[in-house]
């Protein structure tokens, strides 16, 4: 499995109503579990894992919360940070100003900065860095302030 396939699987799993799944291939196995109310995905590669599982981002703890979201303005890879070795643009609880960059979307080697739509507090980061974001897919949830 490629990293992307694992990401896709995690994504699918997170959106699904099932709470646990196990997938075994010739030289790998993956177990995904999540607590019924709080969907937290965890990829556990087996001992001789052929692929490096992506670092799992801390998930938003309050899935029942609802509110406005920043949606992907185009299809592309979601990045929470300006570079792999740098801190993310925003973290849960941050106050951000309107127009401040909250994440990046990469499409065809072009980075698009996604701005905050208004002054707000970030309530949740809904995608893992490096995942494909479909057009219109929610990336972050915020509360206007």
């Amino acid at each position: 499995m490629t990293n992307q396939e694992i990401f896709d699987l995690m994504d699918r799993f997170q959106r699904s109503t099932i709470h646990a799944m196990k997938l075994s291939g010739e030289d790998f196995s993956i177990e995904l579990t999540k607590a019924p109310p709080a969907p937290v995905a965890a990829a556990v590669p087996a001992a001789p894992a052929p692929v490096q599982a992506a670092p799992v981002q801390p998930e938003a703890p309050a899935p029942q919360a609802e509110g406005p979201t920043v949606d992907a303005p185009l299809v592309g890879t979601f990045y929470a940070a300006p570079a792999p070795d740098q801190p993310p643009f925003v973290a849960v609880g941050d106050h951000v100003k309107q127009g401040q960059t909250v994440c990046l979307i990469e499409a065809m080697k072009m980075m698009s900065e996604v701005p905050a739509p208004c002054d707000c507090i970030i309530e949740a980061v809904l995608k893992n860095s490096g995942e494909l974001a479909a057009f219109g897919e929610p990336l972050l949830r915020y509360r206007p302030c």
Binding site: Q4, L74, E106, F135
Partner: protein
């Protein structure tokens, strides 16, 4: 063989491609626009990615979004279907740059065949007959006038990048030409971003005969016979049949040879179509244009040849040789296709998108229906109005006509009006039954057919 293909299209053709992929064990990624989230092609694909909003420019024409989706999902090929980016040379090049197989000819071939004035020159050089006209583009109305004097009126002004009936004007005399020239040029600029014009003599009351081509990457080029697409309204085909009744086997062989020469001249790869005009005397034919994509009406060729054209496209794109030669191709029986569009002939063919409240497709031996509709689905207003393709295959033309009549009788769609009834009327028209229709048929007979319809409506109202 390709492993995973992104389908950069929607509607029935996306479904058609998915079916061929499934049968070849190729995974599919449906790239869909927001309003197509519930569409059949998005439901049946192995994987889906929403690539943009309703507006085609942001989704099905959005090259970056399609390439990003294809790369992120690990595709090795992109099938463009028809319309949208299928004949976009830059997109074919961009796919190649990203290491993705564009399922179609190369960007260069598309460029050669796609510029209509350049294609004329290439065909002339390859010994394929073309209609008399300007030598290359006509950059001004004055030069267009001079060329028109030389070939004689009536003439057609055409956009080099044109297609789908856009950027074309008919001129019957010199006094209307300058205005028509300016109009067509502006339309071409708006529609295709390229306002190069050329001019050719208008062949009056011609038939539209096209040849299906298949070419691999190893120099093999064959043709799979012809289709008669003369039943058209404003260059939009309504009923197609294969093979054309008006061709003798001698003429079919000559035109088939010319089509193969045309394909070779542009270095064609994959499935394509060479369109000819056959003049009213039924002897002279002229190269009209080459379509570098799978066509809407490919199904009737599949019915009479038994060749799965989309499967062949995927094989050729994977680098395989054609698994047949010209000698293996024989045309069996007769096939007819009716395009059912969500449009109302009573209201000047106004597009009528809507929700399918009830749907029943015809069945039985020799009937094929390609459609993306299902009960409860919505045909959105943003894209073309094709709702279903009804196809029939029978041993003789008359049997095929009878089969299509009964197929249309069985067909039921509630939720929005369609042109199905008009096709049904045409299938009873003596000129059609005799096989005597030219491209002028629909225009000449439409008022009578519609008037008949109106009277039937009134009669039913009084009952």
């Amino acid at each position: 063989m390709l492993k995973r293909v992104l389908i950069a299209n929607r509607g029935e053709i996306a479904l058609r491609i998915q079916r061929a992929c499934r049968e070849l064990d190729i995974e599919t990624v449906a790239a869909y626009s927001q309003p197509d989230a519930e569409a059949l092609h998005a439901q049946l694909a192995t994987q889906t990615v929403c690539i943009g909003p309703a507006r085609a420019a942001g989704s099905y024409l959005n090259q970056d979004a399609l390439l990003t989706a294809a790369l992120a999902t690990g595709c090795d090929g992109i099938h463009p279907g028809y319309g949208f980016l299928s004949e976009n040379a830059d997109f074919a090049d961009a796919c190649a740059r990203e290491g993705l197989t564009f399922i179609g000819p190369s960007g260069n071939t598309i460029r050669k065949a796609g510029s209509k004035s350049a294609a004329r020159d290439i065909m002339k050089a390859a010994g394929v007959p073309v209609t008399p006209g300007s030598d290359g583009p006509v950059p001004s109305a004055e030069e267009a006038l001079a060329a028109a004097e030389r070939v004689g009126y009536p003439v057609l002004l055409k956009a080099s990048a044109g297609g789908g009936g856009r950027g074309i004007r008919r001129c019957d005399s010199a006094d209307v030409l300058p205005a028509a020239y300016a109009e067509a040029k502006a339309e071409a600029r708006a529609c295709f971003g390229n306002d190069e014009m050329y001019l050719e003599k208008l062949v009056l009351r011609p038939r539209h005969i096209e040849f299906q081509i298949l070419a691999d990457r190893h120099g093999n080029v064959i043709h799979l016979g012809d289709r008669d697409c003369s039943i058209q309204r404003r260059n939009q085909k309504l009923i197609e049949e294969a093979p054309a009744r008006c061709l003798t086997s001698e003429l079919r062989a000559r035109m088939g040879d010319a089509a193969v020469r045309a394909a070779r001249a542009v270095g064609y790869k994959g499935a394509g179509t060479v369109e000819f005009l056959l003049d009213a005397d039924g002897h002279h034919f002229y190269f009209m244009e080459m379509n570098t994509r799978i066509q809407v009406e490919h199904g009737i060729t599949e019915l009479i040849t038994g060749v799965d054209l989309v499967r062949q496209q995927l094989r050729v794109a994977s680098g395989l040789s054609l698994d047949m030669t010209q000698e293996d191709i024989s045309l069996t029986g007769h096939a007819i296709e009716c395009r059912v569009n969500a449009e109302d002939p009573r209201q000047d063919f106004r597009p009528c998108p809507g929700t399918v409240e009830f749907l029943h497709f015809p069945g039985g031996a020799g009937v094929r229906v390609d459609s993306h509709l299902y009960n409860g689905c919505t045909l959105p207003p943003y894209y073309d109005s094709l709702a279903a393709k009804l196809m029939v295959h029978a041993p003789t033309r008359l049997e095929a006509i009878r089969k299509m009549r009964r197929a249309l009788e069985e067909f039921a769609l509630e939720g929005f009006p369609t042109n199905a009834e008009l096709s049904y009327q045409i299938l009873y028209h003596p000129t059609f039954v005799r096989g005597g229709c030219t491209t002028a048929f629909l225009e000449e007979n439409l008022p009578r057919l519609l008037d008949f319809n109106r009277r039937v409506d009134q009669h039913e109202d009084t009952l």
